[in-house]
Assembly symmetry: C2
Homo-oligomer: 367 residues x 2
Amino acid sequence: MLQIEPAILQYPDWKGHSFLREEVAKFLSDYCHSPKPLKPKNVVVMNGCGSLFSALAATLCDPEDAILIPSPFYGVITEDVDLYSSVKLHHVPLYSQVVRSDVRPFQLTVEKLENSLKEAKKEGLNIKALILLNPHNPLGEVYSSEEMISFLEFAKMHKLHVLVDEIYMLSVFNKTDTFRSVLSLDGLPDPQRTHIMWGVSKDFAMSGMRVGMVYSENRDLVQALDQLGCFHGVPGPTQYQMAQLLRDRDWLNSEFLPENRQRLREAHSFMTEELKKLDIPFLHRSAGFFIWADLSKYLSEKTFAEELSLWRCFLKHKVLLSCGQAFSCVSPGWFRIIFTDQLHKLKLGLSIAHFHFSSCLLVQLNI
Amino acid sequence: MLQIEPAILQYPDWKGHSFLREEVAKFLSDYCHSPKPLKPKNVVVMNGCGSLFSALAATLCDPEDAILIPSPFYGVITEDVDLYSSVKLHHVPLYSQVVRSDVRPFQLTVEKLENSLKEAKKEGLNIKALILLNPHNPLGEVYSSEEMISFLEFAKMHKLHVLVDEIYMLSVFNKTDTFRSVLSLDGLPDPQRTHIMWGVSKDFAMSGMRVGMVYSENRDLVQALDQLGCFHGVPGPTQYQMAQLLRDRDWLNSEFLPENRQRLREAHSFMTEELKKLDIPFLHRSAGFFIWADLSKYLSEKTFAEELSLWRCFLKHKVLLSCGQAFSCVSPGWFRIIFTDQLHKLKLGLSIAHFHFSSCLLVQLNI
């Protein structure tokens, strides 16, 4: 697997070595079920999707421009787009309350996107793009094709770029949730403004490998990313290893992916059963590594201060959860519970959490 | 050499894994002859020195701030500091003409630094730092300790940060040029504002490996670089390989470095002899991969337009040289000639160049 040839020790094509981009195009064609083979020239490889968010924000936006993102969302993106380029995120708030029987809690709709865009414009913000996470982190939500197309049509109408982050696309572990990649659609509404991201950090559990990729038909964008690529290069030998991994379909299809999904299913099932026993409401989804759960009943007051206090209480007892504030959630009390760990650790964490729920409450009530 | 343990496949410390930073500290302590052992906590590893320039500019400067750099200089730095952070370089022009017998052509002096700083201030520029390349690219210059200390004292007096890029430190191939790293000095004039860079791209001929590092005692800077490190991460397995390489002193000292220096010496000697035969003036230095040569006698007029025309003429005949403009040189006609290639390629390039010198001239004179 280790290959050190002179060519891969030299300065690379900053978009990624052609042998890797070819392999990525084949891989995405297959696993995203694209109607036509995807093209290697539309692939840009960088050292992680954080780098891609940074480079995409820098190329698509001017400083102080803004990007729409439904909240809650994977909070790191805030720094990804801001640290280098001073690009801000404008949140599209999704609420936990269900006001009609035909909507899900935290459901994204075009109406909400429209409202937020209007509000942003009123505030004088120049909205350049929309970020969509599918499958969603932290909600575990998987959008239907119809939903996704409606979001893409909304973006087209307002000439917004769309960054579709599909980094959990191979971590959908129950057949009830059918994931459809944007790349599987027969003709994108606005292909020049639709850019799809994937990486190996989550689906291959290799965040330390620092490999992410974007697929875009926009030549100007690819060229601009090429310019910034010198800051986000992946070592040649790593690119060689990645190409080998993506090419190894036998092992991926017959060993890794089934085993990985089976483990995800089992761990998810264990955790949801435990949450039910504790009478904790949660979103029942089948994608990603986490469960979005409502712990607000343990808050003495429904405030973010109390949410933080509960988070600190968990941490004090060595249970690390992520609180809703970290995802810019608008309703206090929601937590992201990671279930992808060894069973004995999950059991220990749960027993500690359960045991201390009452004491946490007492602390918060200053009793 | 390939090591894939779970820990190195997980999100790393963004400054670099501790095992690598420890190895870097030991390596720099030894090869830079530091009076005291250097500390791993002062090391930040990123994917190449281009990334480090970008991150250092972003952390030390505000947008539109400027950094002093003597010209000619490795031109890529212009984009490194500007692309993400809009930081500009303010050139300290070094001239080829020798006005006094005790100065070298293109010699950097504190007087020139002072003059450029004054001029920058007059232009309303906010100068935050000074970049020094030692050994120098493209001049091949190696500064004496006395010179380097005088530059550092200048910077201290004006409260400027200094980025000392020592990326060619192990590529000094004749004993006539004695390189002394800034890290070998007994007490830096302003340690909180002095930051030393090195990487494996040049000295180990591994630009495709994307590994660079900075050594700085400034805790705030290290912390800020840590924040930006998520965009410049090096894969865990690559970090493991690098640590192994840096640790392998027997091979480095008895095999690689002597052989590498011997090859550099031979290739340099061949090229300088050929330049003498062609009566082409050049700087006789013993560091780096290049010779800075004066081809102005082949220009029909001493202008940059003619320099570019000569460069194009070489290129047309498949000889790639870098012209002075690429290094912001103020005197037209200077070229950087890379001599680190196989002998038969150097011979072929030279014979083509020689054969076409006259025809190039004819082209330029439109004859």
